[in-house]
Structure formats: C-alpha cells, structure tokens
C-alpha cells in the first residue's frame, strides 16, 4: 500500500518537471496496478488544489486587512481557537456528542428505512395501503417536526436522535422502495421457475439486486443526518457542533463559528468517504 502512495507521487513529480518517465504499460501488470493507485492519489491531490487556494485567499485577505477580524478572523486565529477549545477539553466533547447523535440517528433511521422500503417495495397490498401516507409524511418539512418532538419527547438526546432518524429514514426508504420495484422481472421469473419463492427469492435475487441502490440511499441518508444534527443542535442543546455555532454567535466568536463549519465539513466528508468505500466494494460485489 505504501509503495502505491509513494511511487506515483515521485513519478508525477518527475513528469511535472518534464523529465521523461517510462511508459508504465511496458512494466506489465505490476506497473498497471501502480498506475491505477497513482491515478487515485493524483485525483485526491488535484482535489486538494481548490481548498488550498481558498485557504491562501483567506489568509491573504485577512493578513492584508481587507476584512476586519470581527468579520473574518485569520486562519491562524481559527486554529488558535481550536487549540484553545482542545485545551479546555471542550472540542472533543462537542465532536464526540455530535458524531454519536449522527451515527445513532443514521443507524435507527436507515434500519427503519430498509424495513419500510422492503415492505412497501415487495408487498403490493402494503404498497397500495401505505404509499400515499408515507408520501405525505415525506412532504412535511423536517423542521416542522421539532415542536412536536420537543413537546412529546422533551429537550434531550432522544428528541435529537429522533429528528436525525427522520432525516435518515426517507432517502433509504425511497431508494430501496424504488430499487425493489425495478428489479429485473426476467431474473425474478427465472428464479421463480427454479422453485425460489418467499424469503429465498428475496435473499437470493431481490435484495442482492438492490444493494448498489441501497448504498447510494445510505450515503444520501448520512448527508441528511448531518443536516438534521445541526438543525437539532441549533434549536436546543448544550453540547455539540451545532451548539458551538449558536453559542459562538451569541458571544460574537466568529473564529469558533468558522471552526465549527470547517469541522462539520471535514467530519461529514470523512464519514461520507468511508461509506463511499463500502459502496464501491458493494457495487463490485453485487452489481
């Protein structure tokens, strides 16, 4: 693995200087693998160019005094705010509680989404009976649930996790429901002709066929979970990245606001990338 990461960087470095680099195809299979690994690293590096430029522009615009620190603090002061919060022992708590809420809500919501999507996607009667209701529930803007959740469940972990679950539920439900309804009829018929039905038909044909769709639903659900987390924490909480945002707004700490936004971007992107790896594996395995 390490060779895959080191070699291509130096090779691309050589190419960048105009130094002639031997064609990798001549090296046979090993060379091709390395090239593919190199491409992936190259893509990641290219993707970092724009964030680096933004950081540079941010630094220049604050260092030149174009923005006042109360409008836009410098990158260095945001870093200092992070170090300060770490030293107070608060940052880890904010991050951990937010991540815990997202993961719990995501797990519960997507599990219920899988169950409901499977039920409505497979059972014609359940589809006819329930689809209009579920469609109407999906049309309710998510934040409309907040007052009800606060009254019913109270301002605590449960109401936040419930709100996030609602957010995670619908993407998983929708993709699985549509996926199951569009499983290749020919495949299902062939399997039926060989005596498969009920649970065996489900596990042998229908579920494997929707695995790729399910994973894209899960990725959407995870993104929704982060969205709903901030909504839940903005409204009522005493910890978490959303709380850090509102609290910093009230105390005028723009550096902490920007810190929270950057953390949300980085953590959200990281969890999405992890799920993306699982998705690529699943697509290779099942598609």
């Amino acid at each position: 693995m390490s060779a895959e990461y080191v070699t291509p960087i130096s090779k691309e470095g050589l190419e960048a200087t105009g130094f002639p680099v031997p064609a990798p195809a001549a090296k046979g299979n090993g060379g091709r693998t390395r090239l593919r690994g190199g491409r992936r690293v190259g893509v990641v590096l290219l993707g970092l160019i724009v964030p680096a430029l933004i950081l540079l522009a941010w630094h220049l615009s604050t260092a030149s005094g174009y923005f006042r620190p109360s409008q836009l603090p410098s990158p260095a002061s945001v870093l200092a705010a992070a170090v300060d919060l770490v030293q107070r022992g608060q940052l880890a708590n904010h991050i951990l509680i937010s991540t815990q809420r997202v993961l719990l809500g995501f797990l519960i919501g997507s599990l219920l989404g899988v169950l409901a999507g499977a039920l409505l996607g497979l059972s014609r009667i359940a589809d006819i009976l329930l689809t209009p209701t579920v469609g109407a529930l999906r049309a309710v803007p998510s934040l409309a649930w907040v007052p009800l959740l606060v009254l019913w469940i109270g301002i605590n972990e449960d109401s936040k996790v419930t709100l996030i679950s609602i957010g995670a539920f619908f993407p998983v439900f929708t993709t699985l429901y549509l996926g199951l309804r569009h499983v290749d009829r020919n495949l299902v018929e062939a399997a039926r002709a060989f005596g498969l039905n009920g649970v065996r038909l489900l596990t042998t044909v229908q579920l494997p066929a929707v695995v790729p769709a399910l994973f894209s639903g899960l990725r959407l659900a995870l993104a929704q979970s982060w969205l709903f987390l901030v909504a839940a924490e903005l409204i009522a909480s005493s910890m978490g990245l959303g709380f850090l945002l509102t609290d910093s707004q009230q105390t005028g700490r723009v550096d902490r606001i920007i810190l929270a936004i950057i953390l949300l971007a980085v953590i959200g992107k990281t969890t999405d990338a992890l799920l993306g790896i699982a998705e690529r594996w699943a697509v290779r395995r099942w598609a």
């Binding site: 020919n186 062939a190 039926r192 002709a193 060989f194 005596g195 042998t204 695995v211 598609a287």
Partner: protein, 270 residues
C-alpha cells in the same frame, strides 16, 4: 466446446423422461373489453424423450404455450398434463432455459448453476453435480467467473446447465439459441443433441428458426391460424421430421419440408 460424453463417465442422473399432454389449451390477454385471444384449443401429446419443436411467427403464442407447461402462466381453458398429472403452478418436474441467459450477475457461474438444483439435493451431491454439468457444457474452467466475464454463448451454456441441474423430466427451451451468432448457435445445437443422447429427457423447444427445428426435433408443431377463421393460434401443422439425427443439413427431404414449413409461416419463394 464440444462436450465429450465418454460412455460410463456420466451417471444417468436425470429422472425418467416424462410425457406431456396439452389438452384444449386456450389463453387470452387483456381486460374483458379489449381481449386478445392468443391460443385456442391446443391439443397435442408429447411422448417421453421426444424432442418437439414449436415453430411460429413472433407473437403467435409459442412462449405462452411453453410457459403454461412450466407453470409460469395459467391458461384460461384446458390444461397441461405432465406424466398424467396437471400442472398447477411452478412445476418441479420442468426446467426452463430462456432466450436470455438470465443469470444472477453477482454469482459465479457455478453458483448460478446451483440455483437449478432441486431442493432435496444435499450440499455435497449438489456441488458435485454442478461441477459435472459445467464440465458437460465445457465451462469447468470458468466455474468461478461471473456472468459478465464470459461471452453470450458461454452464459447461455450456463443457463442450459442450470436447467439440467434440476433433473428435469421435461426440458423447456424458449428460443435458447435465438440471440447467439450463427456459429455458436450450431455448436449449441450439437451440444443439446449430445446431452439428449446421453440423457434422453423430453424437450419442448420453442424456436422461430426452421433449420434449427429440422436439425433437432423429432416432430415439429407449427402454431398458426389453422383452417378456422377464428382469432388466436392453434396447431396449424404437426409433422414428423424424417431421418435420424444428426441430419444432413443439405438433404433433399429436409429441403422440401423446409419450403413447406416456411410457406406455413408466410414466407414463400425459398
């Protein structure tokens, strides 16, 4: 490609070939206001071990007839009897190979063939049988490949092996070679005859290819309008193909029969 069936190497692992009787079979589609009659009054007896080719123009109900035998479709009138007992649903005694391979893309060829095994078979016996069948269709080297990694002809051979795994008393083939190139099709036809010689099961073969029917079948059933001026297809002709297999593709007897079959199908001047 050609599977060599050395005598004694393959156990007679098929059940006894079973006779099939279509009795007054009729089927129409659509709602009561807009009803389209596809089949009417199809009555024919297929003997055990016989290969019956079902010929007809597209949309004439060939596949519907086959699906009724498989239990994939329920006729409106009449019934299908296999070995004297009526078909009431998906029937264990039949196995189907479709025009498309219809393999599960996430399974290996080996696992796809194993789908065809009867429920009763034990894991070890089932595995041995699957490998034997893959060898029979010349794919033992590709057992661990996925369907998308092999050619269309190989996928279709896998589909045939899957049908054979079922130990079928009746093998139902729905234009199984229709989508293959001409050369592969001839090889597949030879393979089917090899298999049938080694394990003579009853075969119903739906095809639109007159030459394929002439090569493979004991008898050819032509579905068409028939004499009556009624909607829907019925048996327009039922002929016995002269000569023992393998038949010379250029023989004069077959040439005359080919012309008459083609004219029945509405193609004249050949």
């Amino acid at each position: 490609m050609t599977a060599v069936l050395a005598p004694g190497s393959t156990k007679p692992h098929h059940k006894q070939a079973l006779g099939v009787r279509f009795s007054g079979l009729g089927r129409s589609f659509g709602s009561s206001g807009d009803r389209r009659i596809v089949l009417r009054d199809v009555t024919v007896e297929v003997k055990p071990s016989e290969i019956l080719a079902i010929l007809g123009t597209s949309g004439c109900g060939k596949s519907t007839l086959l699906r009724a035998a498989a239990g994939l479709d329920i006729p409106d009138s009449g019934e299908v009897l296999i070995d004297g007992t009526p078909v009431t649903g998906i029937d264990e005694r039949c196995a189907v190979a479709f025009q498309e391979p219809r393999l599960l893309p996430w399974h290996t060829l080996q696992a796809n063939v194993a789908i065809g095994l009867p429920k009763s078979s034990s894991a070890s016996a089932g595995k041995a049988k699957v490998l034997e069948l893959l060898k029979l269709v010349g794919l033992d080297a590709f057992a661990k490949h996925r369907p998308r990694e092999v050619s269309g002809g190989m996928a279709q051979r896998t589909s045939l092996a899957r049908a054979l795994a079922r130990n079928p008393g009746v093998l139902l083939l729905d234009e199984p070679f229709g989508a293959l190139d001409a050369l592969t099709r001839i090889k597949m036809q030879d393979l089917l005859l090899d298999i049938h010689r080694a394990q003579p099961t009853t075969v119903l073969l739906v095809t639109h290819d007159v030459d394929e029917a002439l090569q493979l079948a004991d008898r050819i059933l032509v579905l068409g309008r028939g004499d009556a001026d009624e909607p829907g297809s019925t048996i327009a002709e039922l002929v016995t193909v002269p000569g023992a297999r393998p038949r010379d593709r250029n023989s004069a007897d077959l040439g005359a029969l080919r012309s008459s079959l083609l004219s029945l199908l509405g193609v004249t001047g050949h």
